[in-house]
Amino acid sequence: MSDVIGGFLESYFRRLGIMDDNKYKLEDFLSDARFRDWVLNPTPESQLFWEKWMRTHPDQREMILSAREVILSFQFQKPEVVSPEEKDVLLKNILGEDKVVGSHRKGSNYGLFYKIAASILIVLCLSLYYLHFTKTKKVEVPELITQVVKANPRGQKTRFTLPDGSKVWLNSDSRIEYPDKFMARRTIYLQGEAFFEVAENPEKPFEVISRGIITTAIGTSFNVSAFEGHNIEVGLVTGKISVETETQHQNSKVYAGPGEMVIYNEALNGLQVKPYANLDFIKWTDRIIVFKRAGFQQIKEKLERWYDVRINARNLDREMTFTGEFKNESLERILERMAFVEKFSFEINDKEVNIFFE
């Protein structure tokens, strides 16, 4: 598997013509169509590709993240949106004008076979459509829906707006997927962690599906943390939500109000509602790292994800319970402050961090 990716990478960059010369410039990435597609429309495949590229070329990492940010930092002005009614009027003009001109009628017999074939296909498609939408009365061409994917590598966080106006803060090492148009429900798939400020619309429930847990909300702000290997935690800031498991074999649906948080324990397959004491769990959206009596493992995982580093510990022979908050600080500053209290020394070699306990 990794050989396949490796070979693929190599041939790709050879094609780019930047394989031998190790000096890539910002514009080499900016002008690359695959890079553009990754930044603007990431897929699991492209995500894997560029993550791997950054791992194998750590010296290029900063430039890649910069290039990504350049692309995200500007946009072309969008003109006013033409209303669906106006578009329909225009379409009717176009269809009507054709009847006046009426020149495509004199088609030859040559196309007849294709016409019949096409008609059969259309009838087939329409009946399929009917089967799926028995409740719809009018035959309309369904609007095409594409899934939008946004993904952050480790070390980056983003904030953006969904098609319905809801706001999302997406944490590092996290990914969400949603349709470019919401139909009856607003369904979002989440991996990792995100904070949602939901635009109110009682007709269209807003649901976040993460690792088998469905959180449903109407006009609410809440945080879903669903990193692999951890309990899933849904913290509610305002409004009301319900949380249920996708499988539902346990009749498990719980409701939470403001000040409450829902915890899902995979091992017990159980949902639990409990009050939270503070809003620490959303501070990451303000670039604040919070540790509350945190053990070493917790600190390590958080910092690794936040700064995209690997942390190794030597002589870790005691329980650590560190408490502290860091706003917008460098990794070095944080470790310096911890080292003093926790009595360790450390060294940072690019993406590798070694901690020596005294």
């Binding site: 033409v82 225009l90 016409k115 369904p142 966080k157 953006f160």
Partner: protein, 209 residues
């Protein structure tokens, strides 16, 4: 756009909303175009619906007169309908339509300069960029001022260069498609122009850091 892995992620969510057969037929450019050429009304309407906004967006870059922009789009679709069986085979419907609408609007603008006062309702967008607040990064490599510098560097480029960058990022086109739409002599020429435009961004960032 349709990478093999796409299907895997799409499975879970979109199968509820769209019947597979029709979706497939309408999603595939070649198939859709063929249906349109063979006289399918469904296909024609679908092509119109899928592309209207991106064509309008391009038109508004050139002109602030939105009646003119809409007229041009209408003209293009009427022309497609009248000669549908004689239409060329295209690999990208989007690129084909963008080129057609672009040509139409440029001709129209040239004529209107000679013939009549156009009732400009708004100013043309002229392929200018603005800072993106949609996707402000929380962990930033750049500060607000640098983001403004990026915008400024792009605004100083000649219009043709800005248009090429627009097609690359906004219309999401390949270099081949940009070559066709903007009448470049070669793909390489299209690529070089965009490359040079983007190099300006790096120079700006470097100069001020």
């Amino acid at each position: 756009m349709s990478l093999p892995l796409d299907n895997i992620t799409r499975e879970e969510s979109s199968q509820k909303t769209i019947p597979a057969g029709l979706n497939l037929a309408l999603k595939d450019d070649k198939m859709l175009w063929k249906l349109l050429k063979d006289g399918s009304e469904t296909a024609f309407v679908e092509v119109y619906k899928q592309h209207f906004q991106i064509l309008y967006d391009l038109g508004r870059q050139f002109s602030g007169d939105f009646e003119l922009v809409k007229d041009c789009i209408q003209d293009v679709f009427v022309a497609i309908r009248t000669k549908r069986s004689k239409l060329p085979v295209v690999s990208s419907i989007k690129a084909y339509l963008l080129k057609a609408v672009r040509n139409r609007i440029l001709t129209e603008i040239r004529n209107s300069r000679k013939n009549r006062f156009s009732k400009i309702t708004k100013s043309a967008l002229n392929f200018q960029v603005v800072p993106s607040y949609e996707s402000v990064l929380i962990n930033r490599q750049f500060n607000d001022q640098q983001i403004l510098q990026i915008q400024h560097a792009l605004s100083l480029l000649p219009e043709r260069q800005r248009e090429a960058v627009y097609h690359f990022y906004y219309s999401n086109l390949s270099y081949d498609e940009i070559r066709d739409i903007m009448n470049f002599g070669s793909t390489k020429a299209a690529r070089n122009l965009i490359y040079r435009a983007l190099a300006e961004i790096r120079k700006t960032l470097k100069a001020r850091q």
